[in-house]
């Protein structure tokens, strides 16, 4: 095993985790029938807020919570505008991203150059002492920070919520046919607002992970398009949480390869690797669009449509 291998895998995990958070959050939002293109903006505001609190208080837990809270606050703006004031979802989402990028640059002005100690890691000393496979298993599965484990729990919990719980069923119903859901008596816009807030919190968490763990410092514009990748990821995964998780690691691996490709002697221009997630998404879209049944079963039928109760 080459000596770069384990660090490489480790960096894939840290690069992929933000995608898991933001992607699963957006998945829940889209399942409720709302398209929020502001993921990038919510992520970066989450990143800067978490970093600011982390640096000033030194508390990782407080920093992470602040990141999630900041993302949800951004999502609240989006939710009120699109759900209650019926503004266009696409335009509002784009505006949210632009707003978030500007706001975070302003907020992070005094924090450039500071660093954060990172989040606590979970250690399992006994397991790592198993000979031969111990170190590999140890690196792959153990010794990560708490948020990595949380991202796995999140994926399972959201999958269970959407498919097994009644509340999740209502959420899917609202995204599938909002008029029918309304006539049965479900509060369409309230369900959507809660989904949007959850999506914002998860995007904020993804952003916090970037500034606290991935590169524990603040750099303006540090999300660098990851929010867009998370959006593409949801479609790539055809709205299934487990596939979002797999896709996140695939795309995370690609971003790491993009950094190390030269060093590893791979002769692929980094631009091609940077394009890869989007190309893959287009490819998947083309494939699933060929079969209208697949689209009908997976894509929320009311995605991006405003709901206004008539009478």
């Amino acid at each position: 095993m080459p000596e770069w291998f384990i660090p490489f895998l480790l960096s894939v995990v840290t690069a992929s985790t933000p995608f898991v958070f933001a992607g699963i959050g957006e998945l829940v939002v889209e399942k409720s029938g709302v398209l929020n293109l502001g993921v990038e903006g919510m992520m970066i505001v989450g990143a800067v807020s978490a970093f600011a609190v982390g640096v000033t208080t030194g508390s990782g837990a407080l920093a992470v919570l602040t990141g999630a809270f900041a993302g949800a606050a951004m999502a609240l703006i989006f939710g009120v505008l699109t759900l209650y004031l019926l503004s266009n979802q696409v335009a509002t989402g784009l505006a949210l991203t632009l707003f978030g990028l500007g706001l975070s640059a302003l907020m992070g002005h005094g924090m450039v150059g500071k660093t954060f100690a990172g989040l606590p890691h979970l250690e399992f000393p006994l397991l790592e002492q198993i000979p031969v496979i111990g170190p590999l298993i140890g690196t792959l599965l153990l010794g990560h920070d708490v948020l990595v484990y949380f991202s796995v729990v999140l994926m399972i919990a959201v999958g269970w919520f959407l498919n097994k719980s009644r509340a999740g069923m209502v959420l899917r119903a609202v995204g599938e046919n909002h008029n029918a859901a309304h006539s049965i008596g479900y509060p369409v816009n309230l369900v959507r607002l809660l989904a949007v807030l959850f999506g914002g919190a998860m995007a904020g968490l993804g952003g916090a992970y970037l500034s606290l763990v991935h590169t524990p410092l603040w750099v303006e514009n540090m999300t660098a398009g990851r929010g867009w990748i998370a959006l593409a990821l949801v479609v790539f995964a055809s709205w299934r949480p487990a596939r979002v998780f797999v896709g996140a690691y695939l795309f995370g691996g690609l971003t790491i390869m993009q950094l190390h490709a030269q060093g590893l002697g791979i002769e692929i221009p980094p631009q091609v690797l940077a394009m890869a997630p989007y190309l893959a998404t287009i490819l998947v879209l083309v494939i699933i669009s060929r079969d209208s049944a697949l689209i009908r079963l997976n894509a929320p039928a009311c995605l991006g449509k405003s709901f206004h109760a008539t009478g």
Partner: protein, 517 residues
């Protein structure tokens, strides 16, 4: 004397510019099947939405089993024992039957083994349903069963049914009526909304007739005729379409030969070897249950979907199988699709723009690439005037018109283009009785003027009223055609369900063509 199950007094609901319900009183007794009768826009839907808690009224009160109640939302209505089957089903295509049912009942009821309870209810009432199927794979009749079973699971005391039979075969209607009569026998009250008068005569114990938001009369449907009820509903004498006498049919104008088409939609219906011809001066009716290839046939005939074999469709003497809609219009064909907004007309565009869109070719509304606005507006005004479309003017958007008015406009637009062939799908679906009669009359007049008319419809009364020959489409195959006096409604029903019959043998049956006039 038992207390009424439901009593409404003075219910009033205003929308900006309209009074949807004005001082409406209604009393429904236990076990009673009560018809609520009225044209589109008479305020029936508004009233039941109030009863079911979907919307509030501005004034008036409601008593449930003698006690005054407020129903703030549908859940509260369900808790009281009110169930509702919507006209446009409140179902979720990408979810299973079981999930759909669970969504429509309370969380406590949905707990436990819902799957087997669904099977139990559906077996005991003869409403066959598989809880694990996805809704989008089901027929319209099966979808309605989901709604009915959903209500029955809650052991309702009042069942509201909004236009339940508009999508069913005569046999399915019979089955539904059996279920409803049995429920009524068990003491369940049923509020039955419909404008099909024959059905109301057959099923209902009382009828309340609404017009322009007010109750105009109560009657016993058994003692009224369909005609007298229609007149109460419209507030004027009903003019039945008249078939002009002594029309000579001429040469075939539309010929379809061995038309095959594979549907691009996974759940669409493939067309197999469809052959028919329509002569000038003749109206051919095609009956069938929704989802048996009608939409596909319409798409192929209008040129929205092209076929490889150019000879399989002929308009006049032109082969057009591979020609698009514009070429077909140029060849003399007009079409009126089923969906008025979004297919027949662009919802947000004005009437004159909509008139231009389909009339550009045959009415010469385009000059070197520029729209002739004046000419188009004049054309639209002509339509509004000749076809009595109620609208302030042709600058109004298509979606500002009521269903019946817009349909009259679309018909006018197509008819004024002087087509030699016209193909219409569900011409009077969801259209009030007055407009429906006007639309049917215009089809008869068009045929009298020498056009070949093809009417694809689920409404058998309509087909018997206008068609010279009736054929049935089932699973993408078209039957032979028979004149209306050589085939009965029941035989057509069997053909619609895919059962072979031999109407020739029944041609002398005195019941032939037994439909409401």
């Amino acid at each position: 004397m038992t207390a009424p199950r439901l009593e409404l007094k003075g219910v009033t609901k205003r929308y900006p510019g309209v009074v949807a319900n004005n001082n409406v009183d209604l009393t429904v007794m236990p076990g009673e099947i009560h018809a609520l009768l009225g044209e589109n826009g008479a305020g029936k839907s508004t009233l039941v939405k109030f009863i079911y808690g979907v919307q509030r009224a501005d004034a008036g009160w409601m008593k449930w089993e003698g006690r005054e109640v407020e129903i703030p939302n549908p859940k509260a209505a369900r808790d009281l024992g009110i169930g509702m089957v919507f006209q446009h089903f409140s179902l979720f295509d990408a979810m299973t039957v079981e999930e759909n049912i669970a969504l429509g009942i309370s969380a406590e009821l949905a707990k436990g083994d819902l799957n087997s309870r669904i099977k139990e209810i559906s077996a005991s009432y003869g409403l066959l349903l598989d809880p694990d199927r996805y809704v989008h794979t089901l027929s319209v009749g099966e979808r309605q069963r989901i709604e009915v079973v959903r209500c029955l699971l809650q052991s309702p005391k009042l069942l509201i049914m909004d236009e339940p039979t508009s999508v069913l075969t005569p046999q399915e209607v019979e089955e539904l009526f059996k279920t409803l009569r049995r429920l009524s026998g068990e003491g369940v009250s049923i509020l039955y909304i419909s404008h099909k008068l024959q059905e109301i005569k057959e099923l209902c114990h009382t009828a309340t007739i609404m017009r322009m938001g007010e109750v105009v009369d109560d009657c016993d449907p058994a003692e009224e005729t369909a005609r007298s009820m229609a007149e109460m509903m419209m507030g004027k004498n009903l003019v039945s379409p008249e078939r002009p006498e002594g029309i000579e049919t001429g040469a075939p104008q539309l010929v379809v030969r061995n038309l095959d088409m594979e549907s691009s939609d996974h759940h669409g219906v493939d067309l197999h070897g469809i052959s028919f011809e329509v002569r000038s001066g003749e109206i051919l009716g095609i009956a069938g249950i929704a989802g048996n290839g009608q939409t596909e046939l319409m798409d192929v005939l209008s040129g929205e979907v092209l076929v490889d074999d150019d000879d399989s469709i002929i308009i006049g003497d032109k082969t057009v199988g591979g020609a698009g809609p514009v070429e077909r219009r140029a060849a003399g064909m007009s079409f009126v699709p089923e969906e008025r907004l979004g297919h027949g007309a662009v919802a947000e565009m004005t009437l004159w723009e909509n008139a231009f869109l389909s009339g550009a070719t045959r009415k010469d509304l385009l000059k070197s690439g520029f729209i002739q606005i004046n000419k188009s507006s004049k054309y639209a005004s002509e339509i509004v005037e000749q076809f009595k479309v109620k609208t302030p003017g042709v600058l109004n958007a298509a979606n500002s018109l009521s269903g019946g008015n817009l349909q009259k406009f679309i018909f006018g637009r197509e008819i004024l283009q002087d087509p030699s062939v016209i193909v219409v799908l569900q011409p009077t679906w969801g259209v009030d009785a007055g407009s429906a009669a006007a639309i049917r009359q215009s089809l008869l007049d068009l045929a009298a003027d020498g056009a070949a008319v093809l009417v694809i419809s689920q409404d058998l009364e309509e087909l018997f009223e206008v068609a010279d020959r009736i054929a049935v489409i089932c699973e993408g195959r078209l039957s032979k055609s028979w004149p209306p006096d050589e085939i009965t409604v029941d035989e057509i029903g069997l053909l619609m369900a895919g059962i072979e019959v031999d109407p020739a043998g029944a041609a002398h049956d005195s019941e032939a063509g037994g439909h409401a006039a």
